[in-house]
Amino acid sequence: MTEIVEILLSASFWAAVVRIASPLIFATLGELICERAGVLNLGIEGIMVAGAFAGWMAVYSGTGLWTGVAVAMGAGMLFGLLHATLTVPFGLSQHVVGLGITLLATSATYYAYRLALPEVTSPPRIEPFQPWEVPLLSDIPLIGPALFAQTPLTYLAFVLTAVVALVLTRTPLGLALRAAGENPAAVEAQGLSVTGLRMGAVMVGSGLMAVGGAFLTMSAFSSFFFEMVNGRGWICIALVVFGAWKPGKAVLGALLFAAFDALQVRLQQTPLGADIPYQLFLMTPYVLSILALVLMSRRAAVPAALMVPYNRGTR
């Protein structure tokens, strides 16, 4: 117990929580946008892999870091376009297409990696985003380093949360988007295009997922590794459910989740952790995600037209 208290009182722990949560926030917001418009995007895992690689590769070939983020976003949007084309106008199974996109994006990324760097045994490093320390505020004990000494991408993740929440709840575009996920026929009756709204949502959402992946290579690890996304995409799908399809709650979920993750990493180093197989610690993120799904299962917040294709002229 004392170990846990000690960890909770260290500033590095809270800084790690916010850092671990950042990629999850981008990808969770991306998935949330897709789902609010009525499309389940199981391409998330592969799109994160593609984003992680694309951003890193761009920077490695000499572009600036922000250009790298834009390249990652573009790569994500391309896969999003493919996903949206197949699932929205053609109305194909979102499960099958999503898994297909994950497989395609992952294998295409690995293929591109091997072509770009045929000879290397360990991937080259790039100069990643450096923390921006906000003067004065970053000196606050405990929460200062966590909230005010992060990399710009982390700040962007929180700004984006507010933007997505505002757009979804306070703008005509957000209303139309939500209606496309709840009652597409009503959107069509308003003279708006369900197809256009849904495709746009999937593309933007996929772009954000890719930025989440890019966070890993451009802010967290500075290198690209195979398997580095390691199920984070699937965890984000669970986080959307956990957050009841609301951006703020989903981000709280991501932070809570990241806290458990940061805690398990630190507990492994303690004498307590030495007696327990490390695999049990590594399992916790996945077990927690399943628990989160079970806890939230009774809440009926799921968009009514999620996974229901819309074909104009039919009922």
């Binding site: 106008p89 497989l103 293929y111 045929p118 299962s297």
Partner: protein, 349 residues
């Protein structure tokens, strides 16, 4: 644009479009090979040669197809009921675990009893692994896609834990692997002198059995009814939840047989890299077969051929073997689109 049903699709439509999808896949593949600076025709030639160009190559393809037939059947059965089992990888490892635990135990059964005992234990273990997510689905409405996916990660860590703990081979020089099954308990070869074990025959039998279940039994009828429209099926008095649970046991059991067959037929012991994603590839196998159990055999051979061929091509031509996964993912997406367009036409407006 919108879709309009085609009343009576002609032969050109029903066969031409899927053929076009395959052709499109190979165009994508050719572009990728060009990007790698190699000659597409020579590369595809090397893939075919590596998959079926010699007795050794063909046997390698059959061996690789064996677990894919099992996982493909597992997915086909589940998807038929719209039960999205993406956790065949976990079920495969559950089957492999059961096989190793029983096979290396001190039970001392004769092989003729041990084989069915190991297979049976594997089926039960795999079925139980899928039962969890399916119970969560029918009792609490928890989406099984995410839970089965997450179970894959949990199961792999569990296997790793056991391989570094109670199941660790003391003679393994520190490698995380299990003890090997005694020679007698390994599945014998189908034909003396050929590197192909009884697991392949078992896979073919499983395909026929699943086909019989789907076409000749009440359960098969119920599975299709639940898959086509669960609400209507419930209204018609079909116990939907019970059908889903039965489907889960069948699907999980089939995926687990892949683990049983790989351990007892091919590898002899359990390691963390027993499956290079057979559970996930099973989804492609099942979809390319349009979920038809006998079609699964054909598509598993095709998919295995591409993997084995690409491995051998990659060594010779220097094109990364990941091209196999890209080809299969493209084929999957192109094929589902083509199948849709055999039944619907795109109209403007």
């Amino acid at each position: 644009m919108r879709l309009e049903p085609v009343a009576a699709p002609g032969l050109a439509r029903t066969l031409g479009l899927p053929a076009l999808a395959l052709a499109g896949t190979f165009v994508v593949g050719a572009l990728l090979v060009l990007a790698a600076g190699a000659d597409p025709f020579a590369t595809f030639g090397l893939i075919v040669q590596g998959a079926a160009g010699s007795k050794f190559a063909a046997l390698e393809t059959l061996n690789r197809a064996t677990p894919l037939i099992f996982t493909g059947l597992a997915i086909a059965v589940a998807f038929r009921a719209k039960l999205w089992n993406i956790g065949a990888e976990a079920q495969l490892y559950a089957g492999a675990l059961a096989t190793v635990v029983l096979g290396t135990s001190a039970l001392g059964l004769p092989p003729a009893l041990m084989w069915p005992a190991m297979a049976g234990a594997a089926v039960i273990a795999g079925g139980l692994v899928l039962l969890g997510p399916v119970l969560l689905k029918v009792r609490l409405g928890v989406d099984e896609v995410v839970t089965t996916l997450l179970f894959n990660f949990i199961m792999l860590l569990f296997v790793s834990m056991l391989l570094e703990g109670p199941l660790k081979d003391p003679m393994g020089m520190g490698w995380p692997k299990s003890e090997a099954l005694p020679r007698d308990y390994r599945l014998p070869r189908l034909v003396e002198g050929l590197r192909l074990h009884w697991g392949f025959a078992l896979a073919l039998i499983a395909a026929v059995v699943v086909w019989l279940i789907e076409t000749r039994t009440t359960l098969g009828y119920e599975i299709r009814a639940v898959g086509q429209n669960a609400r209507a099926a419930r209204f018609a008095g079909i116990p939907v939840n019970r059908v889903l649970v039965k489907t889960a046991l069948l699907s999980g059991g089939l995926a687990a047989l892949a683990g049983f067959s790989e351990v007892s037929g091919l590898k002899g012991n359990l390691t963390q890299d027993l499956s290079p994603g057979f559970g996930y590839t099973g989804i492609i196998v099942a979809m390319l077969a349009l979920l038809h159990p006998l079609g699964v055999v054909v598509s598993a051979l095709f998919v295995a051929g591409i993997f084995v061929g690409a491995d051998s091509m990659s060594r010779a031509a220097g094109v990364p073997s990941y091209i196999a996964d890209i080809l299969l993912a493209t084929a999957l997406l192109a094929m589902v689109l083509a199948i849709l367009l055999t039944r619907f036409r795109v109209v403007r407006g």
